[in-house]
């Protein structure tokens, strides 16, 4: 079984949803507390959505100093799959594991609604199972959701078809150059069952679980 750790900070709130959806995608996911520093045995990690450390100062600014983050960086360096969803994406940027940073949505309002994204690069652990050009309907749920990257190093792997928040390059998901660290602003775990309106997110989560499984081998 593929073991994936879902890192839980004080203030995280999507950790249980993420465990649930990763289960649907075929993984054995478990919660990892932010003060734990032993990630041995995990094939990959997910930083879930929420408000780690209350988003005080700015989203991710305090979470990057949580004890677990040193190990997350080490896994990333080793080439293991690391995924940040929403607040997790913000934390990965603050930690320097992904390029760029997040600013408030263009309309200065929180946005919670399904949006459409297009798969533009399948060379990441999140998008590897999706067809290029495929359009997916996945809920967005963020205030500081606009990604900006003056360095130009980010690899945009999912792009909004109708820019909801003012992200640079209409980026909805961004990977590092190696493709093993990915941040995604919409929530794939919220689009994992038809009864909830869409299961388009499963192709992303299944690809991620597959990537974790391969690293294991």
């Amino acid at each position: 079984m593929t073991r994936i750790g879902v890192i839980t900070f004080p203030g995280s709130n999507c950790e249980h949803d993420t465990v649930h959806a990763l289960g649907l995608a075929g993984a054995d996911a478990e919660l990892v507390w932010h003060r734990d520093t032993d990630l041995a045995g995990l094939d990959g990690v997910v930083l879930p959505g929420g408000f780690a450390h209350g988003d005080y100062l700015r989203p991710g600014a305090i979470a990057r100093f949580s004890p677990v983050m040193g190990e997350v960086a080490r896994l990333a360096d080793e080439g293991r799959p690391v995924l940040g969803v929403c607040n997790g994406f913000q934390i990965l940027c603050e930690a320097g594991l992904l390029p760029g940073a997040h600013i408030a949505n263009r309309d200065l309002a929180f946005i919670c609604r399904p949006v459409e994204v297009e798969v533009v690069d399948t060379g990441s652990v999140l998008t590897r199972a999706a067809e290029p050009g495929r359009r997916l309907r996945i809920p967005l749920n963020s205030y500081e959701g606009a990604w900006v990257d003056p360095t130009g190093e980010g690899r945009v792997v999912l792009r909004y078809t109708d820019d909801p928040n003012g992200s640079q390059d209409q980026a909805a998901a961004v990977a590092n150059q190696e493709g093993n660290v990915v941040g995604v602003m919409p929530h794939p775990e919220r689009a994992s069952e038809p009864i909830l309106g869409s299961d388009d997110g499963l192709v992303l989560l299944s690809g991620f679980v597959e990537a974790c499984r391969e690293v294991k081998v």
Binding site: P10, D17, H20, G50, F110, C112, L196
Partner: protein, 749 residues
Amino acid sequence: MTTPTDDLKFEDAYVPEPEPGPEPLHRRLGLTDDEYRSVCRILGREPRPAELAMYSVMWSEHCSYKSSRPFLDRFPTEAPWVVVGPGENAGVIDLGDGWLAALRIESHNHPTFVEPFQGAATGIGGILRDVFTMGARPVALWDQIRFGPLDQPRNRYLFTGAVSGIAWYGNAVGVPTVGGEVAFEECYSGNPLVNVMCLGLMRSDELVLGTAGRPGTVAVLLGAATGRDGIGGASVLASASFDESSTTKRPSVQVGDPFEEKKLIEACLELYRRGLVVGIQDLGAAGLSCATSEPAARAGVGMEVHLEAVHVREPGMTAAELLMSESQERMMAFVDPDHVDQVLAVAERWEVDASVVGTVRAGGTLSVYEGDELVAEVPAASLSEDAPRYHRELGEPGWMEDLWSNTLGLVAPPDTSKTLLLLLDDPSIASAAWVYEQYDHMLFLNTVIGPGHDGTLLRVKGTRKGLAVSTDGNGRLCYLDPRRGAARLVYEAALNVALCGARPRAVVDNLNFGNPEKPEVMWQFRETVEGIAEACEALGVPVVGGNVSFYNETDGQDIYPTPVVGMLGLADPMPATPPRLDRAADGMDLWLFGPEWAINLAGSAFEQVAFGHVGGRPVAPDPTLAAAAIDAAVTLAADGLAPVLHDISDGGLAVAVAEICIASDIGVSLRVSDWRHLYAEDPHRFLAAAAPEDGDRIAEVAAEAGIPARRIGRFEGIDIVFELPGAVASVDVETAARTYREAIPRRVG
């Protein structure tokens, strides 16, 4: 050793000399002279300052229900599935298979008027604590918010501030806001209403009550440090009327910290899972005074409390301030002495501060120390149980007869297309997406039918069950006839959960009223309570909790009597494909369920929006028809016969059908025999969209349930077409949709 205080004539009581100075302390704290005398009588002496502070908050209208309690006994509160009825922090009902639901509703009207962002935000914090105090994880919130018209800048400020506050707190605390209501009326200009309801879920062995337990039990204060914020919130803010100077009361509004609350929720849920608490009580209105006296009174014990042990935000707070502070995000856990170390360890793990502040003692005395000094010694039960009860004067308002005879009496129908667009542009009817898209309404992956529908449908993961919830209020209707209006709200909410496939199971109500010292307001209150009680009895649905908010008046102007009814329904099993508004398709039939001849326009949105008229007497509800409508709706939803089911309410049939067309992006042609059918809001009516081949079966369902139903149109094309006797009117769906979606954004943008 206390004296019954039902009767406040204490001629024989010791009456102290008035204190020197401009205003005696008890009056500044909001206690009347009579109430001060009864405190003296209970204690057999003059109270110490800290004691007076405790009585002032606990005997406030907000905490003691002193004007409303005699009426609230009227509610039916029993059913086989009720586990905990009114009186605890939240009502609890049994869902079967070991699952319990906790439900509670509260208002934060006055704080929102004074400071909309924090006022609305802290309302959420408070309602969450009421629910997780019971052992349940809060899984969903509903906000019912009412403001004055958006063309006034101050109303825009209050409305956008409150929505931002709700979004800020609710999203960050990690509990989705899955529905609610947004309404605008002139009467709320000086007095907005912000109500919030919370639903929690737990396993049956996780239920915890607000009891202090046996003597020897240790009281552990968990959560935020206590500060000077919110002092007198219950007594100063929530229990008095407002005027121009009310913004000076801003220091009485609490300041919220959703991050602290999130940690507190997780810490408490772990304490319950591990069985480490005997009882627990949240600190809300009346703070420490309430969280010590109420659990002690419930358990029939006393308590010794040490204020110097309380973790504080600032030095130098007096005993009275510590006892009255309404600092948010705090809980009082009652713990077996052997478990204290484990409780402190759980708190430490979740990064929640904790202090051991007291010990339960035999007898009924609450003794409060500051260091070695005894600062308060009162009978614990006297703070809650001996609170005064007022039998306020009742009087039917002289204006009712005039109101009822003041009918609009239109002779010719107005232009149908223009009227529909006018209604769709009304912010109380229009899409509330601008509001709910700022709220996380999807967290926890339970939201099967979310905001923008008649009811919310949540699944219970790991079961086949679905929980449907609807919250409904209508101040205008209740102003015109409080009893009929309130009863109709109960039936409307019940029908809305039935349209999700669920059977009504429990009601909570939030009764927002004006000044109870006015006989007219108390009459409105009594009538409303009667209306809710009658409807709940007819449906066999118990009231499991509620809240009363009086003094909703500014400068002597009372709000409309505005009860808000929250209905919880259970669908077991949940329909496989529950009806939704967006599933109407080309070629489907449009069905109208309910009374054939609906022409009463009294209290309708039509009269208010198109003519600025509020008058006439609304139609009385019909309990038999209400039950039939519910039966039919549940069957249609459960069998999947009707892809769309939609309640007819604000704006009548015209708006209801337009809402289906807008959501489904399809036109419709329908025929009515009288123009008034388009706008009447008679109760127990709903629309269905269904495939033509299912027509016979649908007619059978209606006949079996005992409700009239007929095909009135067909979905087709791109226009909403009304065929009236001698006239045809149409509005294209695109224009209708734009009007409906832009109504709120264009006014606040």
